[in-house]
Symmetry: C2
Subunit: 477 residues, 2 copies
């Protein structure tokens, strides 16, 4: 840490002991409140829980008002409602931060393998078990006690930053209305930085901050051969087979180094810097354990990159589904009428989904055999996002987290793609990821839990963060 | 035709006019009888027609007894019954011929697009419409009047050859018990030649004889990657994808000349002779029309061969089905747990299905990426069959047909594979194909029909055939 950063850490910050004392005093009430929220089965994917999702939004809105947010609104969408809250700083020049999370949860039922009712929170030792405990109610909720600790221990009446929160209700069912919601309210949501609290960290003893997510472009390519399935004895070997043609297209996607061969695919890719690669290499990565998590039997990917680089920093072309002809039991001697492949491309910073769509279309067009007709359709894409390591807001998150955990904070990225990219896109603000969940928390799985001490470290991190951010970003800008 | 063949044609043969008169005299009764048989809906694929299939066998058995066969038996199988009939020649040294056909039919319903009840035969001009009219009851049935014309016009009391017939009841449902039936009764079925009447000829004005069928080896190859579908964001690009691996396997099946690349695949292949290629080239082949029949938009196949050579004389590797991962609407960002491909290999004379299975297994084994587990299963194979152009029995068929049609008879082959190969295999006899059906007869389709004048040419052909065969083969052996 630079001398300047050390200096920043001393400015206008509450002493750590005062924050910790405050959190300890309010811990029981905080956990009771969270448990109350977790009892609401806000399952957005199940229509019969629509009323519960609305109740969850109302519950959160009331709690944010109680926390002190002067403006709290429940925003309707054609689907489930989102909650918006705003708490301006006293200083109009303070930076504006938008916290993103979601209040809906994955489906859960006792018979899926839960040891107790998924919507009746249970504390076992350091763990709070309930659907949504980690994903994402717990991580949204630590911001409420965090901002109160920030105020109480600094004597402020308003946060050091203009604080906004947007907590959507459809994340677990595809965030289908999220982008239009953000576009509609872009002026209310305007921010200098977005902090996403819907992710995790490397491990309980390895606090990390995530600096980016991959984007996503998806398409389906249909190849049509004969007008109907035809007899492979009468015609096989003399007409083009669309299943063979799709297979040859897919086989041509990667070269022998597992690099994507589509011309222009790597155009503009932001390569990880040597420092980033070195930082990733510092993570205590156990490939055998990673393979167990991947339920896979070997690593395989782009030559010249480690597994973590492959999933976090490299673009990919992946077959999600392939199909054509007869797939039932036994055999059927046909030349199939058609075949298709569903491809997804994970994108990294510097790649433009529109460019990817164009080059995939061009590449496909040149590879369709005579006599095969084809169609290619793209779904809405998600852009990649990446915050540079030296971004001042990122450095604030790292410092705040490092104080809370009393440990060096390391860097990760996220291989998946998410609605956070819409915020970056529409609001033009960098996206930072502050999460305290750990891989064992069981997102989307039975017995989901959150580690209570990590949850309180989340509270503590935000108790430091807003002051640090206001100070350092003011100094930087 | 050689001078010797000309000489053979004059020996012990009924004069053509006598045969034609006999057929004309019995034509009405013959068509009435056939219509009676066609009224029995012997659909072997539909369990509720099992009694009809048995009734069809009994009906045929009675008719063969009435025709004069001294031995007629209905042979039970675990499925539908077959009919066996035997009529020894007076001369114990005469060759033995086994006629093969089937008495079961494809499903048919008025609402499939029939202009009349498929099981109520209708004559419209020269056409007899009914399910089974061409496939295969009509073509089995012409043998009954044929052998009677042979006897009546030569004054014989027994056919010139030892005549056997085997008419199975499961051809339209996969001939599942056929091979074991033939093995069980191999001694009763023993023959010097098999004549299959379950095929067609080139066109009404182009009589042809088919000299061979391709064989068939079929397999399914399963590739297993992760133990379950895994998230393509978290793991994509860093583990092997079984759908990609299957696609790469399929893509490697053929080289840029559309030749099969599996080492040893062409081992032993009986190349068509220059004469055979010249004879095939003489057929009035219209590629545009063939493409319409194939419902396809281009020809494609092994370099250096015409379309007819490709489907009749060349072995193939064809994808009948491919599948893996998500194939529903929209998208699912997964690395699939598994993928599979169903392949069929059409085989030609000189290829051994056991060898093909071995080399496909070996080739697959060398192409499975690390981290992919695989399984490959082969179905029961069908051997190819091919009768040399100069085989005496084939020359008899050509001469008999040529007399009946008053035209030069040309040669075809069959690209498909059928149970006839089991007869060749088990009985060790060459298989000849004598069929009078034309492509427009609508096998397996609505409004199936047979051309009555061609049906009677079938009668006439067999009226000449047994005498010719007995004479010429005796001379040759």
């Amino acid at each position: 840490m630079s001398a300047r950063a050390d200096k920043l850490m001393t400015m206008s910050q509450a002493p750590d002991s005062a924050v910790r004392t405050y959190i300890e005093q309010h811990r029981a009430a905080f956990l009771d409140d969270l448990a109350e929220w977790l009892r609401i089965p806000s399952v957005s994917a199940q229509p019969d829980h629509a009323a519960d999702v609305r109740r969850s939004a109302d519950w959160l809105a009331a709690k944010l008002r109680e926390t002190g947010f002067p403006t709290v609104e429940v925003w309707a969408t054609p689907g489930a409602p989102a909650v918006f809250a705003e708490w301006p700083a006293d200083d109009p020049a303070a930076p504006t931060v938008l916290v993103y999370g979601h209040h809906d949860v994955q489906p859960a039922a006792r018979e899926d393998g839960w040891d107790s009712d998924p919507f009746e929170p249970v504390v076992r030792g350091n763990r709070l078990h309930a659907r949504g405990a980690a994903d994402d109610k717990g991580q949204v909720f630590f911001h409420t006690l965090g901002v109160r600790a920030h105020l109480a221990t600094t004597g402020r009446t308003a946060p050091a930053v203009h604080l906004k929160m947007l907590v959507e209700g459809e994340e677990e069912s595809g965030s289908v209305h999220f982008r239009s919601l953000v576009e509609e309210h872009a002026d209310r949501l305007a921010a200098d930085a977005v902090i996403v609290s819907d992710t995790g960290m490397w491990a309980g003893d390895t606090p990390t901050v995530c600096t980016g997510m991959r984007g996503l472009a998806e398409c389906e390519i249909q190849f049509h051969g004969p007008d109907q399935d035809i007899h492979s004895g009468s015609f096989g070997g003399a007409v083009p087979n669309p299943a063979t043609a799709v297979a040859r297209l897919v086989a041509a996607l990667h070269d022998e180094h597992a690099r994507v061969t589509i011309p222009g695919f790597y155009d503009g890719v932001t390569e990880p810097t040597d420092r980033e690669r070195a930082l990733l290499a510092e993570l205590p990565f156990d490939e055998e354990q990673w393979l167990r998590t991947a339920k896979s039997y070997a690593t395989h990917g782009e030559a010249g990159h480690t597994t973590l680089e492959r999933v976090w920093t490299r673009p990919t072309a992946e077959v999600n589904g392939i199909g054509g002809g007869y797939q039932g039991p036994g055999s059927k001697t046909i030349v199939p009428a058609s075949a298709m492949v569903k491809l997804s491309f994970r994108l990294v910073a510097g790649q433009d989904p529109d460019h990817i769509e164009k080059i995939v279309r061009d590449w496909t067009a040149t590879r369709v055999p005579a006599g095969i007709r084809y169609a290619i359709t793209f779904a809405a894409a998600t852009r990649p996002c990446l915050t540079p390591l030296d971004h001042p807001a990122l450095q604030s998150v790292v410092r705040a987290m490092s104080r809370a955990f009393d440990k060096r904070v390391r860097y990760t990225r996220e291989g998946g793609s998410g609605p956070a990219a819409d915020l970056q896109d529409v609001l033009g603000a960098p996206v930072l990821f502050l999460g305290i969940s750990v891989p064992s928390d069981g997102w989307h799985a039975p017995n989901e839990k959150v580690e209570i001490d990590l949850l309180l470290k989340g509270v503590e991190t935000t108790a430091y963060l807003w002051g640090d951010l206001a100070e350092s970003w003011r100094h930087e800008s």
